[in-house]
Each structure stands twice: as C-alpha cells, then as structure tokens.
Subunit: 337 residues, 2 copies
Amino acid sequence: MKNRQVLLASYPRGPIKPSNFQVTETELRPVRDGEFLLRNQYFSLDAGFRQWMQEGASDNYLAAMPLGEPAMSITLGEVVESKAPSFPKGTQILARSSWQDYVITNGSDITIPIDNPANMPLYYFAGVLGPTGITAHLGMLNVGEVKAGEDVLVSAAASAVGTVAGQIAKLKGARVVGTASTQEKCSWLVDAVGLDAAINYKTSAPLDRLVKDAFPDGIDVYFDNVGGELLSAAAGNLKEFARIALCGSVSSYDTDQTAPGIRNIWELVTKRAMMRGFMFSDYVEDAPAILAEITGWLQEGKLASFDHITDGLENTPQAFCDMLAGMNFGKSIVRLF
Amino acid sequence: MKNRQVLLASYPRGPIKPSNFQVTETELRPVRDGEFLLRNQYFSLDAGFRQWMQEGASDNYLAAMPLGEPAMSITLGEVVESKAPSFPKGTQILARSSWQDYVITNGSDITIPIDNPANMPLYYFAGVLGPTGITAHLGMLNVGEVKAGEDVLVSAAASAVGTVAGQIAKLKGARVVGTASTQEKCSWLVDAVGLDAAINYKTSAPLDRLVKDAFPDGIDVYFDNVGGELLSAAAGNLKEFARIALCGSVSSYDTDQTAPGIRNIWELVTKRAMMRGFMFSDYVEDAPAILAEITGWLQEGKLASFDHITDGLENTPQAFCDMLAGMNFGKSIVRLF
C-alpha cells in the first residue's frame, strides 16, 4: 500500500522554509504481531516541534529529528488494521507520530485512544480537546492560578494555545490583553475571541512601553508563549506575587541565533513573583478531568474552538511555515481526507 | 543626649566605598507620646540594602535612601525610654531602622519584639534567628522544597544567608555545593560549614563549566543569592522539576551598570522547572514556627551560627563595604557596645 510522507530534508539556516521538507511516497511494510496500522486524518501543527528540526538540537526532552525521516508531529487518526489487542480496528487515536498518511506502530510512543462521549468534531482532539487545550488550561489555572479581577497578559494570543488560554482567563473573570503580530489579528482577538485589548508587538514602539501602557498597575499572570524580549518586558512590569507560566519560546524556535538573555529577572525577587515551565505530558492523570471541564465549557458556549484548517498532506510544509510566521488564526491543522 | 549616626553622604558610582558614608553626632529630641527610644546594640549588615543606596533606586518595595540621613539597616536594640504602652522599657527589638546609636520611633516601621525563651546570644536575632535565618529556611524549604538525596547549589555560600541555607540542605540529607570568591572561603565552606564541595567562581574557568563539573547530573535546588552569570549557568544545568529560590542578586547591587539578561531561561520549560522570588517580610505569621525549628537545630548541634562581628559604630561603613566585597565569613554584624 502506498504511503505519502513529508520528510525533513534539510536542517534550516534561519527561518524554516517549505523547501526544507520533501513530500515522497513509499510502500508500507506488513503489520507485525503487536503492531497496528494507523491512518492519519489530521496533523496538529505545533510551534514547539520547530526546535527539534534544528541541527544538533537536544534538550533532554527530544533530540533533533533525523533527516530523511517523516517530520514528527502530533497526529490524529484511526486504527485501520490491528495485530495489537489494546488498539482494535476503529480506535481513534491521538499520537506523537509523524507527517505521513499511515504509521505502523506498537503504540509505545505517546499514543492516547480518544474518548468522545460528547460527540465533538474529531479535529477538536488535535486542538482545544487535545494537548493544545490541556496546555492552555494547565498554564492558566495550574501554573497561573488566575483569579477574577486579575490582569492577564497572553502572548501569541491568536495562536492555538493562546486563543484557549485567553478565553479561560476571561471566563474566570480576568481582564485579558493578548499580543499578536498584525493589526488584523489584534482586531480579531478583541472582536472574535473576546479579549479586552490586544497589543500589536510589531509596531515601532518599544515593547517595554507597550506592556506598561496596557498594564499601568502591572501584570498578575503572564502566559508566555514567546520568551525573548516580551518576557523581559513582562518581567519588568509585574504586580506583587505575579505568576509567569512558561509555555513556549516561539521567538527563539525559528532561528539559528542564540537567544539574548532575559532582562528584569531580579524583579521576581522584589515582586515575590514566580515563573514555572510546564508541559502537558507531565499531566496525563489530570487530562481526563481537564478535558471534561473544557468539554463542558464548549457545550455551554463559554469557550469556542478557533481552528485554521489546511487541506492536503502535500500542503503541510507551507502550512507549518505559515503557522510559525504567525499567519494562523487559532489552531493550525492539516486535514488529510 | 548625644546620638552618633552613620549618614549616607553621597550616592556611589560603581562599588560603594566607606567615603560614601559620614559619621556625625546630633542631639536627640525628647520622646513624645506614643513613641519610644531604642538604643541600638547591633547592626545587621545585609547586601540587600545596597540597592537602596543607589541614586534613583525604586523597586516598588523601597525607594533610594535620602542623602544626609542615617543609612537604613536591620538593627537590634533595647527600649531605654518609652511613652508607648506596647513597647515598655527593657523590650528587646529587631527593627528595620538605621545606623545610629539611638532611634526614636512609634514602632510603625518593621519592628518586632524579641522573644528569647531559649536564652540564645542576642546577636543571633540579627542573624540565624532573625531575617537571615528565616530567609534561609524559607528559600530552602518553602521555595526550594529540598529533599534527601537531592543536589543543591548555594551561591554566596559563605554569606550570612548562605551558611544557614547550606546547613539546612545538609541536615535534610542533600548533597550541597556552595560558591565563594576565594580558595580560603571554599575550604572554610567544606571544613567549617560542612558542605560537600565548593566552587571558587573567581578562577579562570567559565562558570558554565564549573557548574556542570560540580553537577554532572544537574541541579535540583538552586538557592540564588547572586543572580547574573551564575544564575544563567545554573539555569542551563537543571534537572527536571528543579526549583530556583531567588533570594538576592548581589552581583548587580554594588554597581551602576545595567545587569545583563539571564541566559537559559528557556530551559525552565524543557525541565519544567520553577523559579520564585521571596522575601522574609511576607512570612510574619510563619516566623515563630520557623524560628522555633531553627532554635531546636541550634540546641541539638545540627546547625551552627557563623558570625563575623565588627566592634564600633564608626567602623560600620568599612564593615559594610567589606561584606559587599565578600570578605566576611558568615553573618556580618556591627556591635555598638
């Protein structure tokens, strides 16, 4: 059986380009005992995977993706053939897998069967009901401990995690300001996502000034998706006992430059503030309760899923690069069929 | 009555010098209703106060000390005259006060009557049984949550807070490495304080390499008294779920340079690590229990108080500058009589 794959063909120098990938077609080998055949229906495009496309990358979490192999990704698919009793045919699965039509696996990678009693759209499980939603929930509630009336900053607020994180802070009664890279996305954050205000960080004004103007009394919770200069600006404008949820550092992913240091870390002492990095994969046991809560919010209309869907495996490289360039509104997903 | 004072005479440019201070003598005014007269017996010399000796300093905690006024300090003294019923004559007091023989106050600044049922040396209450000890305890246990078998780094380990923090980690069963600025202090940290090893950060080797060699498997808890390059090096060599207790940033106090940014903050995400600033003054309610525990350790011989005592108010400027230059072994105290 034919299997189309999107390979990482070369390591990027500077921003990654579609030409760093190559779409090929191979022949699938037979499924062996203990394995099953997964047909991918959606790829989740996540900025965090960019760092493992960097030559020599190694962060004790994952190493650099090998060249000539399908690029790693969170995927959503269905078991179409099985010689593994725990994964019968028809099982829908969220996996840390790769960009190809089909995958043969024994499920030993991060593979989670999908439970969909509320009959939600399947692609939600690559977004608001997947790692994206769990990450937003953990960052805003477990790390950020946001409370009603607090002042919250969300960076990359028009991103997949950002749109969910911002909405969760809003439904908890906080005032929420998001950052985005264009005036169009800023308007969308206020009009569609429902944030209180948005900062276009690509204007000529210094970030320190933009953040100070948006938070004259300081920040209680900063949900950080970008690191870099915005993290420095936020750290320099905290309220006492502020919390910074370190989710990602997209400003340093798509580059081969060494990131500059973060300024204003000393402010964490004078403000008795906290900064914590987190990853959804540490919270497997909490995931069902988190997803049940998010499902409830979706059903009650308190939370919306914002999805940016691209059709066709062959369009994955362009869609991934567009997402890294910030051209997406909400969760970037590739639909295969 | 005559009152000698140590004034902040000029704001420093670069490292502070004894010539930035001036010893004068004034006449005390009478004590009014609601006030009392405190006779200072000890000054606690704390690196943290250096930052408020900087021109234009303002961090929402305290502003720059005014010129021509006695320099602020934690002090230890006794009420010798009182028109305030809550502070009768004979009361021994820990205060955030200033460098002078006598202070007239209504107690509205941070003033804590001393309870000394275990009959400890009075100057302990400016050190191991004062903010110093509380700070060490909070940073290592409340923020750091140190556990037996963990690998712990303490910077400025020969400092007042450092000697207590390192000992607390040891008595909890951790492996503890301290940093200091001379080989003599490094030897003292191992031989007298009882740490497992010490790093002389003034050798020519890069800090990143020194930290990596001392912690080949990474750091669980970093008790940070210095900020700057050592914080960058520690952040780049953490174990998963590491904790960084941000206590001070002495590397940036005694300078008029803008501190460089902290590198490796992104590692907090991949290691799911936490960094939190704290100040003892937020834990007034917890202080009695903390001090009772420390008193117990002192009585059982599990913890020692290391004190560096200078005699004479007139020697305070030199002693303070020596402390900032790292010439002290343990807690720096000035004894007035």
